[in-house]
Amino acid sequence: MLITLEKILLEYDPEAKNLLPALEKISAVFGYVSRENARKVADYFSLPESKVYETASFYDLVNIKKQPNLIIKVCSGTHCAVSDSRKIVEEIENKLHIKAGDENNPRVKLEIISCLGRCGEGPVAVINDKVYERVTAGGVGEILEEWI
């Protein structure tokens, strides 16, 4: 069944404390919070659009832009950093000919992220929503093959 924005909004009372959860949900379902949807959210919560955008653009788990199909995240937390997560980033950059942090590639995005709290199993990489633990630079090729 198709989930519409209206259906999502109706799950939440139009109270301030529900704004962030609603935005998170919209972003999770549609991939991002579009201009039109933000307008509807603002209307539903009786807030100025600027306010909705201000909140939406602040948080990592709310996207405000359409996302590429392939999103690769590599943890750069202290634990992952000392176990060579930077080399993993470099390896992915070389293999896919992309740059970490480049927002303008329509197909793939490589993001360096903060700690996910999986430090015991690091270095950690996340592709779309699948988590890879104890990743090594040498193992990057094999992981990427699953997705390309």
Binding site: E54, T55, G77, T78, C115
Partner: protein, 410 residues
Amino acid sequence: MQNSTKIITQHWNDINPLKIEDYLNVGGYKALHRFVKKMSPRQAIEEIKKSGLCGRGGAGYPTGQKLEMVGVSGATEKYFICNLDESEPGTYKDRMLVDYDPHLLIEGVIIVALSVGAYKAYIYINGNYKKQKDILEIALAQAREKNFWGAGILGSEYDLEIEIFSGAGAYICGEETALINSIEGNRGEPKLRPPYPTDAGLFGKPTAVNNAETIANIPWIISQGGEKYAKIGAACSPGTKLYILGGTVKNPGVVEAPTGITIRELIYDFGGGLPEGKDFWFAQIGGASGKLVVENELDIPLTFSRDCPIPLGSGAVLVVDKSVDIHDLILSWTGFFRRESCGKCVPCREGTFRLDEIAGRLKDGKISDRDKQAVYDILWTLNNTTFCPLGKFAATAFSDAISKLKILGD
């Protein structure tokens, strides 16, 4: 041996976290019963004050005092928030707490919320902890069924609603006023103090915000008494603490040990020391915002006291050996704070950006004298002029790397 005292982890691995019966079988929710039947909220707070328990999130503020400030307020509407927004790099103790013993946390939340007179409690959980949110939801439903929370708790006149609020990925939301902003639907920026949250917090009402690990100590304190708790660990900040060992150690993971333990004991007794062939270089205590300790400081006992030269912070212990490229770690710190600064005040927004930029040049070996002077200036302004403590955090490790590891030369 005192080191074997376990308060939070005592039932880890013995019980199924998804079964409330398991928790009840090991004496779970007895503290809640005791609180409801035999204690007044004031007595409970008194007991917590006696225990000397202080905040486990890093700041080490005395928990009893904080709860009392909210408790004595005559406001009819008050809130209690359990801070489970763990996002300090290298820290996953609160996640483990939910994974292994969610009811312990919930019991603590209920007791504390009721003792400050709140009708509504939030558990603010890190947005990346999806599995843990599910566990908590199941556990909360079980506890509600047993009438441990909801209306007329255990036949008393106590009412309490508990709601899980999922964060959306922002480190700064671990700071209590930023956390409150985020529940209120705002950007997760720290707010100006005063007013303090204990006076005017969530939606302007008196609010107590406590770290999840702090809360997990409460059931023990209520059942066994504050005085007994105060005898554990260091006198200045008693109790046990969850330490997260990582980096170059044989046995990484979360361990519970009393406060006042030395870093050497943690690394060598609990962590099993470094693997063969690796030489200890330094350790970082408390995540990305933590201080660095070198060999001759390993015997400093870790406490929450202001006088402790090495603040315990989140309890993360990262052991770094001599084969690690220090520049990778520096870039991890600077990149982290550049991403996670909220952007509100000038020194932090611009300073963390510049520091990361210069760290990049440092790694490439292109650092100039101008850069070096800039580093000192930025660290100084981060330390002295930022809006919230994040600025200081951003400067700590880098400053230590300069003074103790001589990354910029002598």
